[in-house]
């Protein structure tokens, strides 16, 4: 079912790209109008980023701007209830939708010198223009994904749960191809 390829690092030292299914995190979709941004930012402990693709971080909490009124929140699972409560607290002052999606999506980490190359088998974006630290909503093959670039050679892909086996199988196929070196 789920593609989970976690490798012993020493044995895999020569590999040019690694694919890992990641442990669950707390995920929320936040929708709020311009007037409510500041209040939600205060509630979440960071300033909501203003431009699509920008990520704001506070501790292990990351908030990605996906649209003019849309943010995606990732946080450690232990913070789930606190985030929901923080939103509820400012609801009257700043009406918004804060919907938990921790189970809607799963994430893969794609790392290594050939990480961008592997993603290019299914992602039509120019990954060279996605700066480390940023993230975008895009597609991988026929699945909608959120693609985070954590570093020059480190990406994460969030994908809806039922699309994950397909995305995982394609990443596996691409990895075999890259390993073959042709």
């Amino acid at each position: 079912m789920m593609t989970s390829q976690t490798h012993d690092f020493a044995a895999d030292a020569g590999a040019r790209v690694r694919v890992e299914a990641l442990a669950p995190v707390a995920r929320f979709s936040l929708r709020v109008r311009q007037q409510g941004r500041a209040a939600l930012g205060r509630a979440l402990g960071l300033d909501l980023p203003e431009r699509v693709g920008e990520v704001a971080r506070a501790g292990e909490r990351a908030v990605l701007c996906l649209g003019p009124d849309e943010w995606l929140i990732h946080a450690p699972e232990a913070e789930t209830d606190a985030i929901a409560a923080a939103g509820a607290e400012v609801y009257a002052e700043a009406p918004h939708a804060l919907v938990e999606l921790s189970d809607r999506e799963v994430s893969f980490a794609i790392t290594g010198p050939a990480a961008a190359e592997l993603l290019s088998i299914g992602c039509p974006r120019d990954l060279g223009r996605l700066a480390p630290g940023r993230a975008v909503r895009t597609v991988f093959d026929s699945a909608q994904v959120v693609l985070w670039r954590d570093g020059a050679e480190a990406f994460r892909v969030d994908v809806w749960r039922s699309f994950a086996p397909h995305v995982g199988a394609l990443l596996d196929a691409g990895r075999a191809e890259i390993a073959a070196g042709l």
Partner: protein
């Protein structure tokens, strides 16, 4: 050493022998050979047979435009490929190839009887021949034509190869790595652009590979090439060989097909055979060069007759002389250099036949100096030789009169009709072509994309012009990218510039009916066929093409289009651009299906969505059915049950005890915000204002046209929060429709929509014992009938998991739907199965769900509705909030045709014989004795055998159906007319007593 191979010459590796076989016979070639060059090195020209007349044929080109030398190649089971061009396929150890399109052997082809009968097969012969009698078509003509049609042998096994694909972004894509393309890439890369350079050949260089005698920037051309490639690599240019730009699409999207393993002796594990690149380039330089035109004369298709440029390539790239005695026939200067180079390599050049009266003096002098006879102002009127050209007949032409013939013995005849700029990719962009009267060819006209076209591709000739133009294009592209760039002027020594003339058929003294001058070699189209097509009324080149099949061969007209046009224009009596040029369409060269399919085969053919509970279903023997992209458990057969028995058992178990069903695929949308209730009032037909938190309601969604689009149960979790469910297939569509209204019509509403379909796993529990199974697992909610009546919802914990618990029923039994975070779906399911064991819990699939809901008359969107069913038609008038000022579709419900009498209405049908099950989709008539064609008054939408009722039941849309209760209608079926009674759709427990638990 093969007799025609020149020791040490060419770019092949003379130290490495490669063994291969052709038609079962073993041969040796060299590393770097193509099948064609290796066979030519052995003196073999005969490589194939033509399609229609089965005429013997040899390679006419040395490249991807080859129409004749098509072979089948194989490297084991599933890896057979027909119609491979021998001029493109590189040798690999053990390569097995076979000739094709022959009956018997290549040398003695029984199919050649067609050639003797050629007067019977003029252009369009099958339009004329196979028309009458009409009845012969299906039984005789079509089977025969189908057997005769098609090139090569279709592979019969599954292709085991891997095909890959990638996306690529680049500042500048240069197509073609000849002199222009190399210079363009070099200049742009030096200026700092991200450059990708592609070429379909195994190595870069283009014409330079066939012209080592030219000097560039003070170096021999090949040294300059090596140094340039090195510099390109060091500048970070992505260099892609064996990569064909197959199509040029909108906004500089170019498709590239890269051949990866076909040339390798062994395929590394996991290596793809081909890779499709989807390239988005900011700028494009097209440097595809030009295609040499054959000359059109009687017998121009014999093995040994080939393009002069091809002979020159075989000589310089592969060190192969294509014959011992060559005759050159040309209308262009370029073929002189072939003659000179061949003479130098030891081939006797018998004569150069120039169709022009006055070839340039420099070339005449050079021919004289080499002792080559030059026959200017001559034509070729025929060739002889059975499987290889043995002689050519030439005649002087003076003032249009053909002089006396002279026969020249030769073993190869090298022709050049001049060069056509390769504008294929340029044409894919729908850019316009401009006819150039002086050069009598099409040149690039108005551009539609951010592209440049350079070198021979826009009609320039000679290395200095090609290199300079490439440099200019590279500089222009770089400047367009915001870089500073200047085009250097290269220095060229021993340039091979030149000009030529363009012809229709060469003049001849033969009776026109006896001339067989080929234009499309593969499809056996002759000049005569084109003229016949025009005589028979074809005026546009598109019609001429379809009537004669000219240009429809696998080379897609690369050899034939322009010659066909010249002759058609002459026959019509108009200028060529007025007759038109056939449209070039992708792909540029034949491309495998595998390359297009990429990863989309086998397990990754298409996304298959599975629920969190899917694993349990699989382990418990579920039979699946696809529902949109999902695979859903259809039924769970036990002990060899067939579907009917399994479904009957599942239905009974649910009605009598308790059934469990995976409803996770239901679409779910969280509607949240202060204006949530207002939004719901505007979207759905139902009123929502008075729905209290903790209660739910069946909602109906219409389109603007008033027809039913979707439905589902919607729970109100708080004043500002609704949990909306949609149909499985409608999830994405409904969310998009809602977003559309919200963003474009009601941006003022403070409400937001979020898809939670996959956040929740949903398990439905139905049956009189459902509460007994569930209540022990529920914390934080009172499960009693009083506290949790039908159509209510609670947030609580079930089996320890955070849950949204609905009490609702799609079966007519006491029912619950439990939503838990998706990762816990299977654990919840298993907990319920365990708790249900003492009560005989039974897992059921979608078929049982369908039967149970049909027994209650509940509709399925898309099955009982088809986009033309309004709420009243479906008996859902009660779901319309009559007092609401508006909702989507409200206005349309008052349309005259929606309030008219006699609309089709959803009713129940009971067949007179309860054993007979109607067919879904079957048409219905009121009077089976009326004359044909009968008036159809509706159709069966749902039909099942109901184990509960012990008979069949059906639902149908019938004109004025609700006014016909108790009447008999007739359903004509192949084995007789079935009588059925119109009834209510509530077949089971019409008063809903079973919900009152």
């Amino acid at each position: 050493m093969s007799r025609f191979r020149l020791p040490g010459k060419g770019r092949v590796n003379h130290a490495e022998t490669v063994r291969f076989s052709f038609d079962g016979k073993a041969y040796e070639g060299l590393r770097g050979d193509t099948v064609a060059s290796a066979l030519l090195a052995h003196g073999i020209h005969l490589m194939g047979r033509s399609f229609k007349y089965h005429r013997p044929r040899g390679p006419v080109t040395a490249d991807s435009a080859e129409p004749n030398a098509l072979i089948g190649t194989s490297r084991g089971p599933g890896r057979f490929e027909p119609n491979t061009r021998a001029t493109v396929q590189e040798l690999r150890q053990g390569l097995e190839c076979e000739s094709q399109n022959r009956l018997g052997s290549l040398a003695f082809d029984l199919g050649a009887v067609n050639d003797a009968l050629h007067p019977l097969f003029p252009a369009g012969f099958y339009y004329k021949t196979f028309m009458w009698p009409r009845s012969f078509w299906d039984r005789l003509y079509e089977p025969i034509i189908r057997r005769a049609a098609g090139l090569g042998r279709a592979p019969s096994e599954v292709d085991p190869d891997i095909y890959a694909s990638r996306y690529l972004h680049t500042d500048l894509l240069v197509v073609g790595a000849g002199p222009s393309g190399l210079m363009a890439a070099l200049v742009a890369a030096r200026a700092g652009a991200r450059v990708t350079l592609v070429d379909e050949n195994p190595e870069m260089g283009g014409a330079i590979l066939s012209d080592p005698g030219v000097g560039i920037d003070g170096q021999p051309a090949w040294d300059w090439l090596a140094q340039t490639l090195e510099e390109l690599a060091s500048l970070g240019v992505r260099l892609m060989t064996r990569t064909t730009a197959i199509g040029y699409y909108h906004q500089n999207m170019i498709g590239l097909c890269e051949k990866i393993t076909d040339h390798l002796d062994t395929i590394p594990d996991g290596a793809p055979r081909e890779r499709m690149w989807r390239v988005r380039a900011t700028r494009v330089v097209l440097a595809q060069g030009a295609l040499e035109k054959p000359l059109v004369f009687h017998g121009n298709d014999r093995p040994g007759v080939m393009l002069a440029g091809a002979a020159q390539s075989y000589l310089h790239r592969w060190g192969v002389r294509v014959g011992d005695r060559a005759v050159i026939v040309t209308s262009h200067d370029s073929a002189y250099f072939t003659a000179f180079d061949l003479a130098e390599a030891g081939t006797k050049v018998v004569a150069i036949i120039d169709t022009r009266e006055a070839p340039p003096e420099a070339l005449r002098a050079e021919a004289r100096a080499r002792g080559i006879e030059l026959l200017a102002g001559h034509t070729v009127t025929g060739t002889k030789g059975r499987l290889r050209v043995a002689s050519v007949t030439v005649n002087p032409v003076e003032a249009g009169r053909i002089g006396d013939p002279r026969m020249l013995h030769c073993d190869c005849l090298l022709m050049s009709g001049g060069w056509t700029p390769s504008l294929h990719l340029f044409s894919h962009t729908k850019a316009s072509l401009a006819w150039d009267e002086q050069s009598r060819t099409f040149l690039p006209g108005r551009m539609t994309e951010e592209c440049h076209i350079a070198g021979a591709g826009r009609g320039l000739w000679g290395y200095l012009d090609a290199l300079s133009d490439g440099a200019e294009a590279g500089a222009a592209a770089a400047r367009a990218l915001g870089q500073e760039a200047e085009a250097p002027t290269p220095a060229v020594a021993h340039d091979r510039a030149g000009t030529g003339e363009s012809h229709k058929e060469l003049p001849t003294d033969r009776t026109s009916s006896r001339v067989r001058a080929f234009i499309d070699f593969q499809n056996d189209v002759t000049a005569k066929d084109i003229r016949l097509a025009v005589r028979e009324g074809m005026r546009s080149i598109e019609h001429v093409k379809r009537y004669t099949t000219n240009g429809m061969a696998t080379d897609q007209g690369k050899m034939s289009s322009i010659n066909g046009l010249m002759i058609a224009a002459d026959a019509v009596g108009k200028a060529p651009p007025e007759v038109g040029l056939t449209t070039f369409r992708p792909p540029y060269t034949p491309t495998t299906f595998g390359a297009f399919a990429g990863y989309h085969k086998g397990a990754t053919f298409e996304v298959t969505r599975a629920t969190p509970i899917d694993g349990w279903a699989e382990e418990n023997g579920a039979v699946y059915e696809p529902v949109s992209l999902w695979r859903r458990a259809w039924y769970f057969p036990q002990g060899g049950e067939d579907m009917d028995r399994a479904v009957a058992r599942e239905c009974r178990a649910t009605r009598e005890g308790v059934g469990i069903f995976d409803a996770s695929t239901l679409g779910k949308i969280e509607v949240a915000g202060p204006d949530a209730v207002e939004f719901m009032n505007r979207m759905y037909t139902n009123p929502w204002t008075k729905l209290a938190p903790g209660r739910c309601r069946y909602g109906v969604l219409l389109g603007e046209d008033g027809y039913i689009r979707d439905d589902g149960v919607i729970g109100r979790l708080g004043p500002d929060l609704f949990h909306v469910t949609t149909t499985t297939g409608g999830a994405a569509r409904v969310l998009n429709m809602m977003e559309d209204y919200l963003q474009t019509e009601w941006p003022d509403l403070d409400v937001w929509l979020t898809s939670t379909t996959e956040q929740w796993a949903t398990v439905a529990l139905n049956g009189p014992k459902a509460r007994k199974v569930l209540e022990g697992l529920v914390e934080g909610a009172d499960m009693s009938a009083e506290a949790m009546p039908h159509m209510s919802v609670a947030e609580c914990r079930v089996a320890g998991f955070k849950a949204r618990l609905f009490r609702l029923s799609f079966t007519g039994e006491l029912g619950f739907e439990i939503n838990v975070p998706a990762r816990h779906g299977r654990a919840l399911w298993e907990a319920l199965m365990q708790a249900g064991q003492p009560h005989g819990i039974c897992a059921y699939g979608t078929e049982t769900m369908h039967v149970l809901r049909a027994e209650k008359g509940f509709i399925i969107i898309g099955q009982d509705t088809d986009g033309t069913v309004a709420p009243e038609d479906a008996g859902l008038g009660w779901a319309i909030g009559k007092k609401k000022p508006d909702f989507v579709g409200k206005r349309s419900l008052a349309r005259p045709d929606l309030v008219a009498e006699g609309r089709k209405q959803l009713v129940g049908l009971l067949t007179e014989d309860g054993h007979v099950k109607l067919e879904e989709g079957a048409q219905i008539v009121f009077d089976p004795d009326q004359p044909k064609p009968m008036k159809m008054v509706g159709h069966v939408t749902s039909s099942y055998h109901s184990a509960t009722l012990g008979r069949s039941i059906a639902m149908a849309l019938i004109e004025g159906g609700r006014d016909r209760m108790g009447e008999t209608v007739h359903v004509p079926m192949p084995d007789g007319v079935v009588r059925a009674k119109v009834t209510s759709t509530a077949f089971y427990d019409p008063d809903g007593d079973r919900l009152k638990l």
